[in-house]
């Protein structure tokens, strides 16, 4: 789960990481009240998960109430690269002497947290990594040991930060690391991390990605939402515990297991079709999960045919068949379904499906055959 800037800053504040004080606002009036409370000059910042929002007019400085109102009116509701701004974050304007970059990343390759620090802050860090890789100091931290003082020193000296901030930067990195661990994040990024003229160290931005699988241990994080990034179908799927990604085509896809679904997308595309979605019904899909999944797929009006590609391991084909039958009785779909069932209890599943004799449902014995058939049916629709 990606947090909005202000959600990330509130999380930072809980871990003692210095951030400018601020308030979120969902309406112009709230924004003006927040700005009055924080004082002028203050920054009005669009809360969307997208880089470069400043250049696109999503961040403005207000020197007085009139400007705060004007900026809040302009920014709330604006569209930034397809995302609608539902909230702004009002914070006191900061003086900046230096802009650095700091992050902690869950490095899957090294299987350890990776801490990065650079004096080239305030820029696209991927561009820095490409053009001047030595400008980024990197260090893996043994998660069983945790972040030690020497990690902070080494990163600070290797990044070449100003000598007078070696210690506070090290302390900040330690807090970022500890927040990363405590909140079970997969990314904690501060860009820019600023040094004020008074030589204070502050996180001027916050990018935090949390591990969805760990949210059960962090109820306060589980409640956070980013309305701007939500697609109606995707939200519906999420509420049902399904992994759904909306795509641009017209063939609804349901499979079990991410790899098999991706492979199905590839094969459908190879057969000349355009998938409407990625939908992984997951391991151990029960009948009601299948019914929910069909509902999500059909809620996309572009869908003209649906492909079920199931190879059961923990998923049992008989459950899938029952779910499909239940979905037909509840939803009475008007588009054709192609079904391929293999794996655990497949004989039973195929028998149940055959006996139900559902209208407009075609069974196929192979994945390639099923893909070819659904492409043909989708085109005919």
């Amino acid at each position: 789960m990606d947090l909005l800037e202000y959600q990330g800053k509130q999380l930072f504040a809980r871990h003692g990481i210095p951030v400018p004080s601020g308030k979120p606002a969902g309406t112009v009036e709230e924004a003006v009240a927040a700005a009055d409370e924080i004082g002028y000059p203050c920054a009005v910042k669009a809360q969307v998960q997208i880089g470069g929002r400043g250049k696109l007019g999503g961040i403005k400085i207000a020197n007085n109430q009139a400007e705060a109102r004007q900026h809040a009116e302009a920014i709330l509701g604006m569209d930034i690269r397809g995302l609608t701004v539902f909230e702004v974050w009002i914070e006191g304007a900061s003086q900046i002497a230096s802009e650095y970059y700091a992050s902690v990343v869950f490095d899957r390759g090294a299987k350890a947290p990776l801490v990065m620090l650079s004096t080239k802050g305030g820029m696209d860090i991927e561009a820095v990594a490409d053009e001047d890789p030595d400008a980024i100091a990197r260090l893996h931290v043994d998660p069983l040991l945790g972040f030690q003082d020497f990690h902070g020193r080494r990163l600070a000296y290797e990044a070449g930060v100003d000598a007078d901030v070696v210690r506070p930067i090290g302390a900040m990195l330690k807090k970022l690391y500890n927040a990363f661990i405590a909140e079970e994040a997969t990314l904690v990024e501060v860009n820019p991390l600023i040094i004020t003229p008074e030589r204070e160290v502050k996180a001027l931005d916050a990018k935090v990605t949390l591990d969805n699988n760990a949210l059960f241990r962090h109820p306060e994080n589980a409640e956070l939402r980013d309305r701007s990034a939500e697609d109606p179908q995707e939200r519906m799927a999420k509420e049902r515990g399904l992994t759904y990604v909306k795509l641009d085509g017209n063939i609804g896809i349901l499979g079990n297991g991410a790899g098999l679904v991706m492979s199905t997308l590839d094969v459908v595309k190879g057969a000349g079709g355009e998938p409407a979605n990625f939908l992984d019904a997951g391991g151990g899909s029960k009948a009601d999960a299948i019914t929910s999944a069909v509902e999500v797929i059909l809620s996309d009006s572009k869908v003209t045919a649906v492909l079920f590609n199931i190879f059961g391991g923990i998923t049992r084909c008989d459950e899938v068949a029952r779910g499909l039958i239940e979905a037909f009785s509840q939803l009475n779909p008007s588009v054709p379904f192609v079904v391929r069932l293999d794996g655990t209890n497949d004989v039973e599943g195929r028998r149940i499906l055959a006996e139900a004799n559902l209208p407009n449902v075609y069974t196929e014995a192979t994945m390639d055959g099923a893909a070819a058939r659904v492409v043909e049916l989708a085109k005919a629709a």
């Binding site: 390759g109 699988n213 790899g259 098999l260 590839d266 990625f278 190879f311 293999d342």
Partner: protein
């Protein structure tokens, strides 16, 4: 010969009294796997269809000589169960559970690696099948027969798909290993490639990858350096849009890194032929091994 599991496997299932744990443990036993124990805290002294249940893994090791553990407990408790198996001296831990928190996986991985006494396969994996010897996990064994093709895969159901295509082309398998698609797999492609390389029964290796991460790229380097047997690759997700998470924590493409095309290219650059569909994988295997 097979790798990792065989007739010497003595299996303990943790979470054996849960419905999935029971279902698959009994299926594994029906297949011929030597299931010696189950563990569910508080249910020690009971049995599951004749399999004795203990309160701790240590007891299953001490009393039943368990050497392999299958982890079937729910995600909040799964890392604890993995660590318990490690502490009890279990040599091979196969974690089926999906949805374990990433930081739990990280800690479990690091402990296992540093202590160096156990191997973890998974989590979020379908398990391991050595046809006609043992099946530990949820792989539908009926589709597979013994043979000379080793399969290793990040994705569970894709493994079955590819394995099935190979079976329909007449191939049998030495062992099929699902390493799982989670952020921190206990066992990587390169670990399994090394095992297959050393396994006299394996004559060809099929490696099924997917988008995200760089495990396939690292495997390509390993193959060039250490694997003399033919390897056929497959990568799922050629048509996946960038920036979207496709189910697995693993299956996400960011920028130009981790795309299926980049992975296929990395493998082909080291001489590994990569099938574009599961069917094509079987066809390439046919070309290499003949029949």
């Amino acid at each position: 010969m097979s790798i990792l599991i065989d007739k010497n496997t003595r299996l303990v299932t943790t979470g054996i009294t849960g419905s999935e744990g029971k279902f698959h443990t009994l299926r594994n036993r029906d297949y011929g796997t030597n299931v010696v124990a189950g563990v569910t805290p508080g249910k020690g002294g009971q049995d599951v269809d004749g399999i004795p249940v203990f309160n701790t893994i240590r007891e299953a090791v001490d009393k039943q000589g368990a050497n392999t553990a299958m982890i079937f407990v729910p995600p909040p408790f799964a890392a604890d169960s993995i660590l318990e198996a490690e502490e009890a001296g279990i040599e091979l831990i196969i974690a089926i559970t999906e949805g374990i928190p990433a930081h739990d996986e990280l800690r479990a991985f690091q402990v296992i690696k540093k202590n160096g006494r156990s191997r973890l396969v998974g989590p979020n994996c379908p398990g391991i099948l050595s046809p006609d010897k043992a099946n530990v996990g949820i792989i539908p064994a009926g589709f597979f027969k013994p043979g000379n093709v080793g399969v290793v895969s990040r994705s569970g159901t894709l493994t079955y798909q590819v394995g099935n295509e190979l079976a329909q082309s007449g191939f049998g398998n030495s062992t099929i290993v699902g390493i799982g698609g989670d952020p921190v797999p206990g066992t990587d492609f390169i670990d399994v490639l090394g095992l297959f390389q050393d396994d006299p029964e394996t004559e060809l290796i099929v490696m099924c990858g997917e988008i995200g991460g760089d495990a396939e790229e690292r495997a390509a380097d390993f193959i060039a350096a250490h694997v003399t047997k033919p390897v056929v690759g497959y990568i799922a997700g050629f048509t996946a849009p960038p920036g979207k998470q496709m189910g697995h924590a693993g299956a996400i493409v960011s920028g130009s890194k981790g795309t299926a095309a980049a992975k296929a290219e990395a493998l082909e650059a080291k001489g590994v032929r990569v099938g574009r569909t599961p069917t094509e994988v079987a066809r390439i295997a046919m070309e290499i091994l003949g029949h």
